[in-house]
């Protein structure tokens, strides 16, 4: 390895660390928004425990579970099942993505807004 390689590695690592820190500082979210092909299918509160089934037009199926303020993918019928392997999400900006079914679940803000609405 040359000196320049070390500089390069350090640069990349510090960029990644900054990126990571910026995300850690993001506030926890209150709901998950489910998108397919870039279209929002719906938003579901993380406070409410439930099991949701999503199907795409080509026979693809995903089961999303919301439990203990977290959301995770319980089942998928795609071959790689990467979305099932991903850890549960609860912080704003976190997401679970199923590429074969073009399905994306993202934690978004919303709980606070909903609480406000109820309080009012």
């Amino acid at each position: 390895m040359k000196k320049n390689d070390i500089y390069l590695a350090t640069g990349i690592l510090s960029f990644a660390a900054l990126f990571w820190l910026a995300q850690r500082l993001a506030a926890p979210g209150g709901q998950v928004t489910v998108m397919q092909d870039g279209q929002a299918l719906g938003a579901y509160s993380l406070a409410e425990e439930r099991e949701l089934v999503f199907t795409d037009g080509n026979g693809g199926r995903n089961i999303l579970v919301i439990q203990n303020g977290e959301a995770y993918m319980k089942e998928a019928d795609c071959p790689d099942k990467l979305c099932v392997a991903q850890k549960a999400i609860s912080k704003k900006g976190e997401s679970i993505i199923c590429l074969p079914h073009r399905l994306a679940v993202e934690v978004t803000a919303g709980e606070a807004a909903q609480a406000d609405a109820v309080a009012r």
């Binding site: 040359k2 320049n4 660390a17 998108m35 990467l82 991903q86 993505i97 590429l99 994306a104 934690v107």
Partner: protein, 169 residues
């Protein structure tokens, strides 16, 4: 055709099958950090070797062929799309850094690994239109750096023993 040409063609074939074997081995390893898209990138070893032994044209052809063939053999069309995006990004930056002459093969490979993952994240962003994809970017960058470094060290060792060309017997 000159003698050197068909020897080179044969060796490119050997390198391509080497890349495909590495892709196959990689598809057998259940390698998951809970982050989608993290792979060892073993096949990049063949790409790096052809880049240093022959040049960017040969390496680009090898790269395109191995993405298509490995995709059809072990994956699907989606996988080909993601691999291709990653391969193009990583290849462009590797050729650029190699050209500058300021980095060793390890540094070139590290940048390649990082850009491979960044390229795939970008495609995932355009396909899903979810900014949440970027949540994984720091982890993907760190993983690309590490795997790229390992592959780069391995390629560097091979080149140390074989010199600047494909070993001839």
């Amino acid at each position: 055709m000159k003698h050197g040409n068909w020897v080179k063609t044969a060796y490119m074939g050997v390198l391509l099958s080497f890349a495909l074997i590495l892709s196959y081995v990689e598809s057998l390893i259940p390698f998951s950090f809970g982050v989608p898209g993290v792979k060892l990138g073993l096949a990049n070893l063949a790409v790096l070797l052809s880049l240093y032994w022959y040049g960017w044209k040969e390496a680009a052809a090898l790269n395109a062929m191995r993405v298509l063939l490995a995709g059809f053999l072990f994956g699907n069309l989606f996988m080909i799309m993601y691999s291709m995006a990653g391969a193009v990004c990583s290849f462009a930056i590797m050729q650029f850094l190699k050209k500058t002459g300021k980095f060793s093969i390890t540094g070139v490979s590290m940048a390649g690994g990082v850009c491979h993952n960044a390229g795939q994240a970008a495609v995932a962003f355009f396909v899903t239109e979810t900014a949440g994809v970027f949540y994984y970017v720091p982890a993907l960058m760190a993983a690309g750096l590490l795997t790229g470094m390992l592959i780069g060290i391995a390629a560097g060792e091979v080149i140390r023993y074989t010199g600047k060309g494909f070993p001839t017997f």
